[in-house]
Amino acid sequence: MYQHLETAKNTENLKRIVVDPVSRVEGHGKVTLLLDADNKVQQARLHIVEFRGFERFIQGRPYWELPVLVQRLCGICPVSHHLAAAKAIDQLVGIDPENLPVSADKLRRLLHFGQVFQSHALHFFHLSSPDLLFGFESDISKRSIVAVLGAYPDLGVQGVKMRKYGQEVIRMVSGKRIHGTCAIPGGVNKSLTKAERDYLLEDIDQMIEWSAASVALIKKVHCSNLPYYDDFATIRSNYLGLTKPDGALELYHGGIRAKNANGGTIIDHVDYCKYNDYIHEEVRSWTYMKFPYLLSLGRENGWYRVGPLARVNNCDYINTPLAEAARVEFKAHSNEAMVHSTLAFHWARLIETLHCAESIKTLLNDPDIMGHDLVAQGEKRYEGVGVIEAPRGTLFHHYQVDENDIVTKANLIVSTTSNNMAMNESVRQVAAEYLSGQELTEPLLNNLEVAIRAYDPCLSCATHAMGKMPLQLELIDEEGNLIDKLVKHSSGQIERPSHG
C-alpha cells in the first residue's frame, strides 16, 4: 500500500522533518519525513528510540517474581503484564487455565476489566478527545484535557471519574492502584470482602451509563465526518487477537484468531502456547521495535493489527448486551466485512469500555469473587506461555526456567510491537495523502500524531506525565541547515525560537 515510502530511492537532496517526540502517547517515539524540493513526501518512518532490554533483565531471577517485576514495564497497563506473566507461571507450577480455581479466575478477570476500563478511559478522555472534539489541526493550545475540561466540563469530569473507578477496581483486587500484587503461581493471594464488593457496586451503574454515552458520542463524531473518518490513516490489514471458544470477544483468555482484510479466517482457536509456530518477528535496522508477522502469509503480507479495532472486528459477538448492540451498529456503519478505518479504533475502544463496565457489574454480583479456594498446585514444568488481550492488544509472555526455578529465557511481544507495521503504514498514508506537497505547519503535522495516537501506542512502556510531553519540530533543508523550528514546552506553551 504505502510500503514504497518506507525507504526513499535516493535520499540525497531531500529535506528532513522530525516530529520528536510524538506527544500524548506513552513512551518516546519520533517520526521522520524526507521531502523533496516540492514538499512531496519520499520517505516516512515511525522510530522507537528507547530500548529497555527487559528480557535480559529478568534472566537470572526466580520465576515467582515475574508478575511483579514485569509490571514495571509499563505505567499504564501494569496489570496486563502482571496477568500475562501470571498465566505463564501458572504453567510452571503445572496449572493450566482450566485448572485455576474458579474464584482465582474470576478475580483475575475482574482485575483485568478494571485495567482495560481505566486505560481506555485515560486514552479517550485525556489523550484523544482534544483531537476528536476540536479537530486535528486545531490550535495547539486547545489540544489538551485542560481545554476539554473548559469546553465540555461534564465530559472531562466523567473521564476523570471513569479512570478513577478503574483504578479503584484494581486497588480492591490487588491492594494498590498501581503495581499491587494479586496473582501468584496457580492463583491469587486474596479475594474480595463483602465491604469491598459493595463499595465497587455503588458506582458501577453510573460507569455503565457514562460508557454508553461515550459510545454514542464517538459514533456521532465518527459518522458526522464519515468519509474523512473512514479514510484518514486508514489501511487494509489483517487482524489478530484472542476470542472465546464460541467466537465471543475475550480479553483475558482464549484461542488466537486472525482474519484477513476481507474477513476470511487465517487461523482460529489456536492454542497460544504454540504462538511460535504461527508468528515470527522481523528486525529492521532503523528502529528498535521488531515487526511481527503471520508465518503463513510471509513478511510482506503477514503483518496484522491488534487492539480494540482488531478485537471488535474479529469477534462474532460480545456477551454483554449494551456492548453487543454497539458492536452491531459499529459493524453496520461500514459496508465491508471488516472495519478498516484507523480512527474507528476510538469507537471500538469505547465499545470495549462499555463491555468492561458491564462485565465488572456481572462479576461483582458473582459470589465466587468472595470465595476462599484461591490457589492450585500441580507438577513443575520448565516452560510457560501467557497471552492476554491488553488494552492495546495481544500481549505475549514466554518464559523458560531451569531446575532451580531461575528464568533462563524470556520473550515478550507487546501489543504495540504488533501494531508497528500498521502504525508505520498509517503514518505513510497520512504523509502521502494529507501532507505531501504542502507547506508544513505544526497543526498539519499533528495529523501524523493523530494517526499514531489512534493506536494508543505504548512506545516504550515507560510512564510519562500526561499532556506534558515536549514537542520539537525541525525543518531542515537539503544542505542540512535548520530553516525552521517550532517548540512546544512541557507547560504547553509554544514558541518559534529565533535561529541562525
Binding site: 537470572g60 526466580p62 515467582w64 517474581e65 508478575p67 511483579v68 514495571r72 493471594n189 526455578d405
Partner: protein
C-alpha cells in the same frame, strides 16, 4: 532501689548485665537496629543503634547499661546519622524494593521509612552479586545481604548447624555457605531452620512463598517498625 539510666531525659531502670538496648526495649523505648536480635549475643555491626552515652557515640546493642549514664537516642543528629547509615546499606547492595518479594515485611525497608529516608543520596554501587537457588526450598539472593550475621548466629546457636559465615573484608565481604561446592543445596540447611527465617532483608527466602500475603496484611502495612519491634521484643526483655 533498682539501678537506672536516663534516655532522652527519662529514667529507665536496668538490671545488672543488660545492654542499653535491652534496658531501653524493656522500658518500651525503641532504638533503631538491624543486626540486634533479642535471642542472640550482640554483634554490633550495622551501627544503626548508635546512641550518645555521656557525649560519646556507642552501639546500644553492645554497650552495657551502667549507673549514671545519660543516653541520647531520639535526637535529630542521631536520626540523621542513622539515615546516612541506612542509605549506605542501600547503595552497597542491590535493593530494588518495588519488585522484591520481601517488600512490606522487610526490616531494612521499614527502618528506612521510619528514618524518613527519601532517596539513596549516595551513588549506587551496583555490585555484581549472585542468586543461589540451588536448594529446593531455601534460596539466597546475595544482592540483598547486609552482613548482619543473624543467619550465622541462628544456624550455630539455635539450629545446631554451621551453615553460614561471613568471609572477606570491606568491599569484598560476602556471605558464604558451608559446602565444598559453595552451594546451599550441599549444606544441611532445612526450611524449618531458624536461620532460614531470620534474615531482616530479602536475602534468605523460603522459595515458592512470594507474594502470598496480600498488601494490607504485611507486617509493616499498618504499623511502623518501632511499634512492631517493641510489641515483639518488649515482653521478653522485661523478664
Amino acid at each position: 532501689m533498682s539501678k537506672s539510666i536516663t534516655i532522652d531525659g527519662n529514667t529507665v531502670p536496668f538490671e545488672e548485665g543488660q545492654t542499653i538496648m535491652e534496658a531501653a526495649t524493656a522500658a518500651g523505648v525503641y532504638i533503631p537496629h538491624l543486626c540486634h536480635h533479642l535471642e542472640f549475643a550482640p554483634h554490633g555491626s550495622c551501627k544503626l543503634c548508635n546512641v550518645k552515652v555521656n557525649g560519646r557515640v556507642c552501639s546500644a546493642c553492645t554497650f552495657p547499661a551502667m549507673e549514671g549514664q545519660e543516653v541520647l537516642n531520639n535526637t535529630q543528629e542521631l536520626t540523621d546519622d542513622r539515615q546516612k547509615i541506612t542509605q549506605m546499606l542501600f547503595v552497597e547492595g542491590n535493593h530494588f524494593c518495588p519488585s522484591c518479594e520481601k517488600t512490606g515485611n522487610c526490616q531494612l525497608q521499614a527502618v528506612a521509612y521510619h528514618l524518613n529516608m527519601l532517596d539513596d543520596h549516595y551513588p549506587l554501587f551496583f555490585p555484581t552479586r549472585k542468586v543461589d537457588a540451588s536448594h529446593a526450598e531455601v534460596m539466597i539472593d546475595h544482592n540483598r545481604c547486609i552482613f548482619c550475621t543473624l543467619c550465622v548466629r541462628a544456624s550455630q546457636q539455635k539450629d545446631g548447624k554451621d551453615v553460614f559465615a561471613i568471609s572477606g573484608r570491606g568491599l569484598k565481604k560476602h556471605l558464604i555457605v558451608n559446602a565444598q561446592s559453595g552451594l546451599l543445596k550441599d549444606t544441611d540447611i532445612e526450611a524449618t531452620d531458624q536461620a532460614a527465617h531470620i534474615c531482616p532483608t530479602g536475602a534468605i527466602l523460603i522459595k515458592h512463598t512470594a507474594y502470598q500475603v496480600p498488601i494490607g496484611e504485611r507486617i509493616y502495612d499498618h504499623k511502623q517498625i518501632d511499634q512492631v519491634s517493641l510489641e515483639k521484643e518488649h515482653d521478653q526483655h522485661g523478664k
